[in-house]
Symmetry: C2
Subunit: 583 residues, 2 copies
Amino acid sequence: MVNIQFAEEFYMANEALKHFRPTQASIPPREVNYRLQLPSGVPVHIHALNPLAFLLRAAQVYPNKLALVHPDVPHPVIYSYGVWTQRIQNFAYALIQAGIKPADRIAIIAPNIPAVAEAYHGVLGARAVLCAINTRLTHGEVAYILEHSESKLIFVDHEYTHLVKGAKVPVIVINDTGREDDPYEQFLTSGRKFSGERGWPGLEWERDEDAPCALNYTSGTTGRPKGVLTTLRGSYLAAIANAYETGMGRDSTYLWILPMFHASGWCYPWAITFAASAQICLRSVSYPHIWHHLLNSRVTHYCGAPTVQIGLINAPQARRLDRPVHAIIAGSAPTAHLIGELEKINIIPIHVYGLTETYGPSTKCYYQPHWMSLSLEERAKLLARQGHSFATAEDARVVFQPKEGDSPDAPLVDVPKDGKTMGEIVFRGNIVMKEYFKDPEATRKAFRGGYFNTGDLAVWHPDGYIAVQDRSKDIIISGGENASSLAIEQELAAHPDVLEVSVVARPHPKWGERPMAFVILHPQKAAKWKGRHAEFEQDLKKHARGRLPGFACPEWVSVVDELPKTSTGKIQKVQLRKLVAKL
Amino acid sequence: MVNIQFAEEFYMANEALKHFRPTQASIPPREVNYRLQLPSGVPVHIHALNPLAFLLRAAQVYPNKLALVHPDVPHPVIYSYGVWTQRIQNFAYALIQAGIKPADRIAIIAPNIPAVAEAYHGVLGARAVLCAINTRLTHGEVAYILEHSESKLIFVDHEYTHLVKGAKVPVIVINDTGREDDPYEQFLTSGRKFSGERGWPGLEWERDEDAPCALNYTSGTTGRPKGVLTTLRGSYLAAIANAYETGMGRDSTYLWILPMFHASGWCYPWAITFAASAQICLRSVSYPHIWHHLLNSRVTHYCGAPTVQIGLINAPQARRLDRPVHAIIAGSAPTAHLIGELEKINIIPIHVYGLTETYGPSTKCYYQPHWMSLSLEERAKLLARQGHSFATAEDARVVFQPKEGDSPDAPLVDVPKDGKTMGEIVFRGNIVMKEYFKDPEATRKAFRGGYFNTGDLAVWHPDGYIAVQDRSKDIIISGGENASSLAIEQELAAHPDVLEVSVVARPHPKWGERPMAFVILHPQKAAKWKGRHAEFEQDLKKHARGRLPGFACPEWVSVVDELPKTSTGKIQKVQLRKLVAKL
């Protein structure tokens, strides 16, 4: 059996890479010292937690193992852990040469290319803070983030240079070629030169594990985006949990579908190095590329919102895989239909939940063995819940929301575990952000009662599983009753002709609000309903009446070709509400 | 397929337990709050690391899953995570009722019974420190440890009460019955009553993760035993590493062969709860019992020194297992013969290395995939090395030993990675003890150069793997050459008629020292050499000459029936040296 985990074998086994060999020029000398200089006076028995440690260890144990491959570009690159770690060292020195000081912010705007994965580690080598910016933002939004973060240096992919036009700090363009004449490669080379071959011992290990690690701006559906500041300690513990909870190890290969810029890529840049897994970059996240790698590159893990999974199972290339692949699903709960379809092609859904403020995923719907004997629908209902906190996270809770006039220090009270009483999910502990950067007021508000208040409404089931009902702003108040838009969507998605559905509140003269559903028809069923959308509407409403209480049945159904989505594939209900407001 | 991970199914599947059902009386109420009270003023984003968290989480996610079973006693017990966690809460309250204050030491002397596993968690609930004492010590040695540790309370198994005769602090006897009239059970019951059903929120979470966790006395071959003090933070990170590095998870079952009292049971009491695995206690560690569970109880993991593994493969019950079982091997390096025999019966050796001062194991011989294509002998040679540090540990190093007159602060210098130059293994970081309790002088000496100095001599191979050559005191200086007793043993063990061998230095008028080998013959070969030991000696010497340099060939060979061993199965060379001194 060819083991693609090792660079030599990988490019032999992979069609797209057959003609490419890792650059030998920068292979590090045999005796590499992977230990950074320790700050003075640290106790023998304490080493500040820092996810950079994972990379250094992977390089030490598996120098020749495949670390990263970037195959679907004109100039593919492939790096072993030994070579890749040297590139990251160069990155760190180049930052220092550029005058970057500890805690300075470094911005990067790029798709899922090697430079971003390198930045997640290289920035830590210089004790700086990475601010990865969403490529879908406008020039104005990017300008706001660059200014608010006070970024001292900007890395930008050649396709997105328009987003940083007029920036007042140095910009380094990444042509994504891996070739000598690439400005980004020149930057790395300058770092190597500047290092004077001092290696890792020429850099200093950050003394304080509570020091900032990354600054991630939330999409911010209302007002300005907020900067979520994470710590080295939190990133270290979150990365371990992500690797452990999804079963990643030395033989795993992670495919970059989820944007690397989103919530530190859910900490997978470090989960991958903790596990010494391989990673495949994808400049353009298209289904043909994804399927090519699922079929040919021995992918074992990827992350994605349900909408990504829906696209995946409906792509023409879709077929049963010859080994199990773990799909880490978050953003919204997978439907029974989706779970069934994924299982059919040997993709194992792992349902996780979290927010940018919790380092991405921090709960998992832990699979109980006796669920195996349940029907798909029963099982899917259980699997659609958000579950319990990760192994290294503190307990998530569901608490009563504050009442008018409550003190912000009032102790939080758990809702009963009855599967009915609605409350708000709150988190605390090592996998919660340190603060909203330069926004103590927002931090204070978010940290009411000594917990991070998510704004997600949920019930707590008798078996201890948390189940999100809705974002508090997505709840539909219909005739005085709270209708969960998520619960309605779950039921509508069970209609055999529905591919994807989103439900929002629409004002109603009598009931205050009523649900309105936006539906994408299944491609194979679109023809059936062509020109008969009114009939489909009746059919879907009938389907809903059999499954939902009257106040939760959609009053309006609109068949659409696509739904507005964020870069991670989350449906933007704020856009749907704007649409509704114009009706 | 019957899944034995769940209590109901376990005792149905297990002959020995068929007639026993978990006690329902103490099953906790449905809505258990597993959160201890937080100390005031802790930041929202930090929660002090503490391995007690793993148990609480396992109980929350899998309340009905099998946690612990104790089958081979007149009164077997079986606990689900929900029930077991309630027992541990009772333990904590009972300690507080008994006047135990944070950081007080609690002693326990017992074989691998449930009470010890409970103590490892219950003591943390009361913020106290567990001092588990070796059952093989003499009354005098135990008295020294009780006095030095200033233990405030002693738990003792009914078989070992003679060891604590005359103790000046309260003693609680464990009859190991799990029945109401057992003094230990009465202790737990008193805790439950004292709690007034305040539950976990009536206890306080330790604010300082650098607080002591356990106090483990080293066997101390010379002088008084030293008390190794570990921390909550270290135990938390070591437990995660042990679970991750050996692939433990929800479906794993750990068999207690290794004494629980040895170096906090190598942190497995917490690795098991981190992974939410099941554990099987063994009061009497006999091969028939071990084989019964390997064959019938779906064991997936156990720890043991090579000598335990040798006994295991040579037991009459030995046969090929129907699923892979992971044997975590430490104490000394497994020989090629042993690795081959284990693999034949589907036992996968995981070779780890560490000391009491490093929380038990803290390096692993990471398996490189290309080793698969090597011959057993080549592979075994590579696997016999100690490898690299665990995922959450800092780098182990091999450094030049201090020269006469060197300052204790002199920076340590790595030996070249040439596989030849001998140096000393040193460790630092989160998986190193805090100190030798009440012995600042010994601590200072052990922490020379800002690292823990192990006293183990090793070489560093070009592939970055560390390979122990010997304890510094076990090196044989023969004609000015350093001969590694371990290397000699490895070669002698390759003789087909040798079951086990140990080599020590014996004074020699001409060469200073020469190696003397103590050999146990393979049971099937003992008859062949009966009354012909002198011939066997010649045969073994001939074997040695073909494989070892002259100065390393044994000058004397003694065939013996058994070798002196510690409770973990490590051969006590100090006893052999005493024997040699009398020759």
